[in-house]
């Protein structure tokens, strides 16, 4: 199984991922509000981290969606939102512990990472190497392992 992994210490906050995702999904704009990956840049503490859906094994957004609009893509393992079924109730947004689901105020539906069908645009635009799309284990802790700092890796 492949997933997007994040090595926070490599991120330079260039926001190429944000711009690329926004454009890939909107085909109109690179504005961050259309992006499924968001870079949080806390200049004051010199900390920057890109965040995008982890396609959690226990996907609460999927569980909580009252419209059955969120399913798992059997091919990519991506948790995806079907915009035709999304009511726009935002329950998924309230369910995601990481703030990785966003709202499209034009179409009034939630949107999130769908792994671009297996070729994530954010990763090909991550010039720093912080984002990778790679094989990970099938256990629920796969991301933790991959995002932990070097010295604590097993």
């Amino acid at each position: 199984m492949k997933a997007i992994t994040i090595d926070q210490k490599k991120c330079v906050g260039c926001r190429n991922c944000e711009m690329a995702c926004a454009y890939e999904k909107s085909q109109e704009t690179c504005e961050v509000m259309f992006s499924n990956i968001r870079v949080s840049d806390y200049v004051g503490r010199g900390f920057v981290v890109p965040m995008t859906c982890f396609h959690c094994t226990e996907a609460w957004c999927m569980k909580m969606c009252p419209a059955h609009a969120i399913t798992r893509d059997p091919e990519t393992n991506a948790v995806i939102i079907n915009p035709n079924r999304c009511a726009g109730c935002k329950m998924c947004i309230l369910s995601c512990p990481y703030g990785n689901i966003h709202f499209d105020h034009v179409h009034m539906v939630s949107h999130k990472c769908d792994l671009c069908g297996g070729k994530p645009r954010c990763v090909t635009h991550c010039i720093s190497g912080a984002l990778r799309y790679e094989e990970v284990g099938s256990d629920g802790l796969r991301y933790r392992k991959d995002v932990l700092p070097e010295e604590t890796r097993g």
């Binding site: 569980k63 009511a87 726009g88 947004i93 309230l94």
Partner: protein, 411 residues
């Protein structure tokens, strides 16, 4: 091979079935629903009414859903449960069980007002309600909504969206007491009125009189009567537990359950609107009648029924919707009276009215009448309040993000 019965095929029942099957693929599972065998989502009713979603989106599982999960679903009404004999009696059959989940949900109730039992007075709670409301929305001009809670206001917003003239009548002096604090309610009230709704608080409905032309005249205490083509009553729901009388399962307003979602009877569990489960705030038994709580309780019940020892961390009330051009959301404790301190986001944050509440410097909830961006914060808040294990993001990263987005978020 064991026999499992699930009463109810909405949020809690489905969630339980899916979780059960993650750990047990062999036991026989029977789902009994009096509302038909196709699961639907009552949360979607207002969205379908206002045309956001087509009608067929009401169904939230595929046709082969039950067979795919090696389960059977029948449309029967449960009349009685016998805990001692481990049987469920329906209007057609008697079924023995080894494990039972009562996820029978709730029904909408009306206030004791004369005339609310007539044709043309509806709730917005079931598929049947929707089927009756849809033609009324299409053909009518005026609607009165009694009540100003979450459901009532969603019904009002759906009616406004469809171009109906809407009057909302609320007995109390404010709207949405279970979802918003006073300030939030005040702001939403403004938004509702700006949308052209005649919102009347402190108003007592004395009678819904049916006029000769089949319309209604609502007589109000100390106020001019209000006309309506039809009436929607949104004044709350009650657990569906009548069939448990003399069953051996203890009931109160709902069915009290422990942290394994088990009733007083081993092998019998309850979840969702019918249950009174523990909350994250250490209430032993509380009914939220909320979709997410039903999902969570269903999951825990299903896992325990499959033999997994899952302890529920407790329900956390959360509400969210977009209505009257604003995102309305709340979670946990958000009233100043029940929390120690609160933080109000400044205007320049662009979030609108967003308040986070704390107890012992730990976030315990918040409420929002504002931008959808602010709703993202509630997900993080939920994780903190429920103390869910971070399996995706390392603690130090999560806490940094949290402390930068929610003041005092790290505890």
């Amino acid at each position: 091979m064991g026999r499992v019965i699930i009463i109810g095929n909405s949020a809690a029942g489905l969630s339980a079935l899916e979780s059960f099957r993650q750990y047990n693929s062999t036991d026989e599972v029977l789902v009994i629903s009096k509302e038909g065998t196709a699961p639907y989502s009552r949360v979607l009713l207002p969205y379908i009414l206002r045309g956001k979603l087509p009608y067929d989106c009401l169904n939230i599982r595929e046709e082969d859903y039950f067979t795919g999960l090696n389960a059977k679903c029948v449309c029967e009404e449960v009349l009685h449960v016998n805990a001692a004999e481990h049987t469920v009696v329906t209007d057609r059959n008697t079924y023995p069980f080894d494990k039972l989940l009562i996820a029978s949900g709730s029904h909408a109730v009306s206030p004791p007002v004369k005339g609310l039992d007539q044709e043309g007075v509806l709730h917005m709670w079931t598929r049947q309600d929707l089927d009756r409301l849809l033609p009324l929305f299409a053909s009518s001009h005026k609607v009165v909504v009694i009540g100003s809670g979450f459901i009532a206001l969603q019904a009002a917003w759906a009616a406004v969206s469809r171009g109906l003239q809407v009057t909302v009548i609320e007995l109390m002096d404010r709207i949405m007491p279970t979802v918003l604090d006073e300030k939030g309610a005040e702001i939403l009230t403004q938004k509702i009125r700006e949308a052209g709704v005649n919102l009347m608080t402190n108003t007592v409905t004395e009678e819904a009189e049916k006029t000769a032309d089949g319309r209604f005249l609502l007589h109000l205490k100390d106020r001019e009567p209000v006309e309506a083509d039809f009436i929607i009553v949104g004044t709350g729901v009650r657990s569906n537990i009548e069939f448990l009388k003399d069953s051996g399962v203890v009931t109160e307003r709902g069915i009290p359950v422990d942290a394994h979602l088990m009733t007083n009877v081993p092998d019998i569990y309850a979840a969702g609107d019918a249950a009174m489960g523990p909350t994250v705030f250490h209430d032993a038994h509380m009914t939220h009648a909320l979709w997410p709580t039903a999902c969570e309780e269903g999951r825990v019940a299903g896992e325990n029924m499959a033999g997994k020892d899952t302890v529920y961390e407790g329900s956390l009330n959360m509400n969210v919707t977009e209505m009257f051009h604003v995102t309305v959301a709340s979670m946990g404790k958000f009233r100043d009276s029940e929390t120690e301190k609160s933080y109000l986001f400044p205007e320049e944050s662009g979030y609108g009215y967003l308040k986070i509440c704390y107890e012992k410097n730990r976030p315990v909830g918040g409420c929002l009448v504002g931008s959808w961006e602010a709703a993202e914060m509630f997900g993080r808040l939920r994780k903190v309040i429920k103390d869910i294990d971070t399996d995706a993001v390392p603690k130090e990263i999560f806490e940094t993000v949290l402390s930068e987005t929610i003041p005092g978020g790290v505890c």
